[in-house]
Symmetry: C2
């Protein structure tokens, strides 16, 4: 093991690869899925449970934590790791996607983003520099620059303006990051490639950001409503240009099938609320597709969610009991579906990594997809 | 160890005693606190967590489980233990207290109780026999007979009517229980002494029920609004008459101070929603009294809920973080306050048992009360 940020331990002619990322708070095996802990915890779970499920890194949301409990309280605790008691690597986003979701509540200028809190309507302003400062106060292991997200479809001129502004903001972020980061801290600032569904813009931004030799690159603005084929085209085009020796993070993606397809295109990192949010809605993932576990047909079903699954929920509890728990609003029901879905995602990543190590990723992928999608 | 239902392993001239209860699903050390799992789980927790907190028996609610998911679904799973995955002893109540809470929605006759579901208004009827049948289908280790609960104060005549009916129903319950219970099952049916705040009625019912030589006796209808001094008087009077070699269960009690005082009067078993319900309202117990952990004064408090507490919440999380979690409605916050409060109660019982074993219960009691009540 060396001290490089990213090391590819198994690559080849194909795009998929097996890597290791070094962070101040531990090592991450890629391809990796990062469970989302919007306000600190990955919903319903303790850090110890996350570890036992196989999570190596989690994502926390800068925008949400800035509003509640506020940066000063997290700083007073000694940073996010101490505050939340998660002692592994943390990636924090920049708020860009949340601002996109805020819609009319935010205004974008060249300087930054003015916004109103979705909680109390209070007014705030984030510049690229503010966002770096906040994540530095958090002690994040992987830092995202402020970016401008658009919905899809967006016209060429708007996409170009947003993409250019994002490159400008990434450059301002690099300056700020380098001015405050210490060598002991060793956190990593990623670039974010925007460009919507326009190939020439994706190529241009991937090229311009690659010149900064950043430790990693995110692909943003996808999985926001565009056609899936178009999404894969954009991922492929962007990955052709991004440096091969840096990790690539496809933000906000996605379904189990999306993740495995993205790995085939050379993506290394993923985050998504899908396993946790679906769990709370009573939808669980299995290798044969999704189950709406609240359904009446499971009322007398004493089988686990998925036969042969090794998660705590499947080892100890039946579909019948989990359905009952969800129907009477017992928190344990949400815990069990969350544990199962996170296990499903994190176990899928383990299987993906093992298949890459064993040179059997294409076979694993087609086997998984044929069983999973047939029933989805 | 013998096979008797209840063995006093340390008694003496004073009323407090240290015992062991044998059930088909394991041994219980008394004095014992039984966490309440109304609809199956003790709210927010898994069986494994309960075990690690030191719980040896839990209480499930017959009325609630009868309505949801229904007896047939639990029977189809193989009983409550298999359905809920809690493999230790289970005590089920009879619904008597829930009917008392239903107020206008229930009607009591000599035959039983007609009631409307608090969920959908559907009409149902519980007789003493029905309630035994349900608990038999559940596979409960300790079974409660249907009783008639009154609010306090109730006049003498109403209390007498309710108390006589309860004795009549206990006798019908014994008949039904003996007609269906198998020797292999070995579950235990308790008597319930009612009588409100009238000494002569308490004495009469304790005497009449004692004659049935039941494996254990519950004291009901207390902690429902009467003066505390009156409650202790009733407990003392009842315990004087109940057979010394049978466990006594003070239903629905209470605060940590109540429990320790009741142990001094010879009570062996307790159940209460106080630790779990308080937890979900953001109130936590410490040896120096209660804390409303959501309070602004804890916003920057990086100490655990209680210094030197060995529970998971105190070993890993700060007041500041738990306050944040509760304020943003993160389920983990409810889990952590629940774990702490259950640990506090179960640890108090451990300390009580140890002090009885070491002949130091009176000193332990006065030390605990002086510190706890001073700040409550």
């Amino acid at each position: 093991m060396n001290n490089r940020f990213f090391t590819i331990i198994k690559g080849g002619k194909a795009n998929h690869r097996r890597g290791i990322i070094n962070t101040p708070n531990g090592v991450i095996n890629t391809p990796v899925f990062m469970p989302v802990g919007t306000l600190g915890p990955v919903k319903t779970t303790t850090p110890a449970e996350l570890r036992s499920l196989g999570a190596e890194i989690i994502l926390n949301n800068t925008y949400h934590l800035y509003l509640r409990p506020g940066v000063e309280i997290i700083q007073n605790a000694g940073g996010l790791h101490k505050f939340t008691s998660w002692d592994g690597p943390i990636l924090t986003d920049s708020g860009g996607f949340q601002f996109y979701s805020l819609g009319a509540l935010r205004k974008i200028t060249d300087e930054g983003i003015s916004f109103q809190s979705h909680i109390d309507g209070s007014k705030h302003f984030f510049s690229p520099e503010t966002v770096i400062d906040i994540q530095s106060a958090f002690g994040s292991d992987i830092v995202m620059p402020l970016d401008v997200c658009l919905s899809s479809p967006s016209d060429y001129q708007s996409t170009r303006r947003a993409g250019n502004l994002t490159v400008d903001w990434v450059e301002r972020s690099i300056k700020r990051f380098n001015s405050i980061d210490t060598t002991s801290q060793q956190s990593a600032l990623f670039g974010i490639v925007q460009g919507g569904t326009y190939s020439d813009l994706r190529r241009e931004y991937a090229q311009r950001l690659s010149e900064h030799d950043l430790p990693g690159y995110s692909i943003g603005g996808l999985a926001v409503g565009e056609d899936k084929e178009l999404m894969w085209e954009m991922v492929a085009i962007t990955n052709e240009i991004l440096p091969k020796d840096k990790p690539r993070y496809l933000m906000g993606v996605g379904t189990p099938a999306d993740i495995i397809r993205a790995v085939a295109l050379g993506i290394d990192m993923f985050d998504c609320v899908m396993p946790t949010r679906n769990a709370r809605n009573g939808t669980v993932f299995t290798h044969s597709g999704r189950l709406v576990i609240k359904g009446a047909k499971f009322a007398r079903d004493n089988n686990p969610i998925e036969e042969d699954c090794n998660c705590l929920a499947c080892r100890r509890f039946s579909r019948s009991y989990i359905r009952h728990l969800l129907n009477v609003n017992e928190i344990l029901g949400l815990r069990l579906t969350t544990i199962h879905n996170l296990y499903f995602y994190l176990n899928l990543m383990r299987e993906i990594r093992e298949s890459i190590e064993n040179d059997s990723f294409p076979e694993f992928m087609s086997g998984f997809l044929s069983q999973f999608e047939e029933n989805c």
